[in-house]
Symmetry: C2
Subunit: 330 residues, 2 copies
DNA sequence: CTGTTAGCGCGTTCAT
DNA sequence: ATGAACGCGCTAACAG
């Protein structure tokens, strides 16, 4: 591999001029510029980024901590982040943490050792979270309430309340809930909204109507079986995400239940395929790509040392009524 | 942030000793080692990896080119790669290429500029592929036949032949095929195996029995509708991956067809949920994690300059018969 | 076992 | 507009 010196020698100028030609072309004469580019082409010169980064004390890289790269919602958030990062000339390192704090720690170490300039965490904050840490510029892209570091989020409780209110307004009184893991912050926030809506309507909360899932399709399917076995089955189900809702629909239909005639179901996230499910799913659209973009912008503000940065952004959601919800059989 | 010099000053030794304490502790006295570690702790010293990498001319990073990070098969291959990389102390950069060669090019540039030491490509090779390139150490983890650079793969044709032979041995003569995109190398290899099996059994290949999909669940569903509309419907279907098979099963069942009584179906990949599908899917298990591990090992051999490295590994598959295939109605 | 010295490739002064 | 010189933080070679 040729270095900047080889190019300088080829052109017959100093390395400083070559460097300038690349970083500040306006400070170099047209003539030199031309010859330098010719030499670069001829020698197949590629600046050694390791050297540049070392010199500039910036890796031009951010890390995204993703609990599950196969999750469609996360993929969309990642897209948003990548859009912004690319326009800033930053690389994006995807940290596939698989919900392991050990693996998370390793990725965070990349920032401590300067291999990356900042972190975007997609896992909502909880006590056992690695972040925040000293020396680590970080932002949460899928925040929950009371995240103790800069975060972008939606109002989960409010959104869950809207869904539940919708079901109540259709006339449902027994509303099943497919939750995420009990200690997941999003579960907690959304459960809060679910309870709020029930309370407002004077319906008592019934723990027997809650089936715990883990946000995967299969856990939704299992949850549906829980409801099917009940003697006094709910007439509607609110699933804390679309994947579980789709799993549940599969389970319910397999047992011969018609949706929404026999049982209504609503989800959360608005995945791409939720509008193609059978029937199309009533759900809450999270601005997933926007969450990614906003969090990336926020992170770059912090990296650039802008202290004025607001440290919480709550983005609006969109409640979408499709064909999976209807009034209960009278 | 403190540097190696601060630590040396604190301890009262030279920077070289501190450096050795970290990289070659056996060359440093116990006493010094102890004081150095104390100083590191006190000063919260973290070696600047940018500097190390620059000095060592190694980023200790490999890039995985992934066409679709939300694909379950790829996630598993990635796991395998990460296992090996971690044990080698390498970082893994996930290049989410979304099938865009523009994005692929950007990630490959990371190697050209030394920010990464090698590439593992998950997309099978085809003419328009960016790799191989000069100065870029690369390996393909999901190879097809005639990949022009080091690759790890399964024998796609042979596996497809096995599946088709199984269906033929059950007594099927009209065997539908749900293929991937026509120009996808895996489609080509698997189609070859399908045709071989038919030829061996003296069954003529009928293009009308081939429905083109794109490896997504939805394309499998669409394909099923194609078969349902046929007047002389196949009694069995071979789908080139499990996702399409599951989509097709959904479509067939929706039209009241029973699987396998009315129609048999076999897939390819053995996704985690294929054993839970209804009915459990007959399929070919790809050693996805092994493909990842083997390709990573191969890449590290190349990075370490081992020229003796074999440049193609064909890993065995496992054909798994479950309940989605049975003899045709007589 | 330890210190001294030199230099990796680049960008940025400060001269000219 | 250009060049000479320096140094970023670290490690390897050599000498002691």
């Amino acid at each position: 591999m040729s270095t900047i010196r080889d190019v300088a020698k080829e052109v017959g100028c100093s390395t400083a001029t070559v460097s300038r030609a690349l970083s500040h072309p306006e400070k170099v004469s047209k003539a030199s510029l031309k010859r330098i580019h010719a030499a670069i082409e001829k020698l197949q010169y590629r600046p050694n980024m390791l050297s540049q980064q070392f010199r500039n004390k910036q890796a031009n890289t951010i890390v995204i901590l993703v609990p599950d790269i196969a999750n469609l919602f996360f993929s969309t958030v990642i897209s948003g982040i990548e859009n912004v990062a690319q326009s800033k000339g930053f690389n994006v390192l995807l940290g596939d943490t698989r919900d392991s704090s050990e693996r998370e720690k390793n990725f965070i170490k990349l920032v401590e050792t300067k291999q990356a300039d900042g972190v975007i965490q997609l896992r909502p904050y909880s006590k056992n979270s690695m972040l925040p840490k000293k020396f680590v510029t970080a932002v949460n892209a899928c925040g929950c309430e009371d995240t103790p570091y800069p975060a972008v989020r939606i109002d989960n409780a409010d959104a869950a309340r809207q869904v539940t209110e919708h079901l109540i307004s259709l006339g449902h009184k027994k509303i099943g809930l497919i939750s995420g893991l009990t200690d997941n912050p999003h579960t907690i926030d959304r459960l809060k909204g679910y309870k709020q809506a029930l309370a407002q309507a004077g319906i008592e909360f019934d723990p027997a109507l809650v089936a715990e899932g883990d946000f995967t399709l299969w856990s939704g399917l299992n949850a549906s079986e829980h409801f099917i076995r009940m003697t006094d089955r709910p007439t509607a189900i609110f699933s804390m995400n679309d994947e579980m809702a789709i799993g549940a629909m599969k389970g319910l239909k397999a047992k011969g239940l018609k949706i929404p005639e026999d049982i209504s179901i609503a989800g959360f996230d608005d995945l791409e395929f939720s509008k193609y499910s059978d029937p199309p799913l009533t759900t809450v659209a999270q601005p997933a790509e926007k969450l990614g973009e906003k969090s990336a912008e926020l992170l770059f503000q912090l990296i650039d040392g802008e202290t004025s940065a607001q440290n919480e952004y709550v983005l609006p959601v969109e409640f979408i009524i499709r064909q999976s919800t209807a009034p209960p059989r009278s």
